[in-house]
Subunit: 207 residues, 2 copies
């Protein structure tokens, strides 16, 4: 826990970006990469990359760079992707469907393991190999499948109620696409993924 | 520009979250809010909120808190939301459709003003009040409508090419849902919004 408090969220948000780029390098058989190369390709200051990675260990060799395979392995460990991470999706509307279908492309042991919706018309219908289940089965399924992360693609009005139910069932991290803030206890993490917030922070950089 | 370099991206990402909560307070006719209240509702340390806001000006009154209307107005100015911000969406697949339909709910002068797809079958079809246009019309439309932000909901393989075209046409900020890194010049900003990266950074916090 002490480690978590020292590492800023900004760093944790950059690690998946590094991982994706490094995985790409693996695919094209590049074995070594410098922070300069990474920085140029990822639009991140090379000094920032070195600092971010140094917070977790001594991965680079001065004048040579990073061993790609070694760094991939370590970032996957830092992000706890060495075991399968199961995710529940709540809300099988347009956005929920789009994200579920994207399930097949998820990498690094990340997998949507159950989908829920409050609409009885949707129950039993198949999305990306999973049957949409009623909300009443949510708590039991989350516990049975040992799911720790949730994606909420539901209307803002339902967000807090569903969020409370998810946390009660044992969810520790929520990716919230609902355009509303939700209250969670200290040991639960929320990332806001709604499009408006994302665009608003981009607008800041417009001159 | 000097201002931009001093303010960290983490702060800029929190401002829309503050704005959304403050707008909610306006709706329910709350006129004053303390950093404690904000912190409790947004799961952000109150000291962090005070620090974030103090970077832009002297908004709070000790022992009283923030004037909600005044703070909303100022955050909207900081985020450059006082004029309409037009957004182009590229890729009218499942995710693109879901986001376009969400257009109606966008607030604070943020609006999708054009939608493009490479599939001729989709051209002319209406999504959220806009006709899907061919990629060939993209540059001209972006310039004619003075669009500065883009949402990319396209496959990873097409991301760099489309990104280059967008930048050539004058786009300065890209919300990238494609699960791949893209290279952009220094004066263009990219936010990565793909679900896998978001979930991976959440996984970090699992104990």
């Amino acid at each position: 826990m002490a480690k978590h408090e020292k590492i800023s969220e900004a760093v944790v948000r950059r690690l998946p970006i590094y991982l994706r780029y490094l995985s790409y390098l693996q695919q094209v058989n590049v074995t070594t990469v410098s922070s300069q190369q990474m920085g140029m390709n990822l639009d991140v200051n090379p000094a920032q990359i070195r600092k971010d990675l140094a917070a977790f260990g001594d991965f680079g060799k001065k004048g040579i760079g990073y061993d790609v395979n070694y760094l991939v392995e370590n970032i996957r460990q830092i992000l706890k992707l060495t075991e399968e991470v199961r995710v529940v999706l709540v809300g099988a509307g347009h956005l929920g469907h789009a994200i579920s279908n994207y399930n097949a492309y998820m990498k690094d042991n990340m997998r949507i393991a159950a989908i829920f919706d409050s609409d009885p018309q949707k129950w039993g219908k198949e999305v990306a190999g999973l049957q949409i289940q009623p909300m009443e089965e949510m708590a039991e399924t989350i516990q049975a499948k040992n799911i720790k992360l949730a994606i909420m693609t539901i209307p803002a009005t339902a967000a807090q109620t569903v969020c409370d139910q998810l946390i009660q069932a044992g969810i520790k991290g929520i990716l919230n696409f609902a355009p509303t803030t939700i209250r969670v206890p200290k040991d639960v993490r929320v990332h806001y993924a709604d499009v408006t917030s994302n665009l608003q922070s981009l607008a800041y950089y417009l001159t």
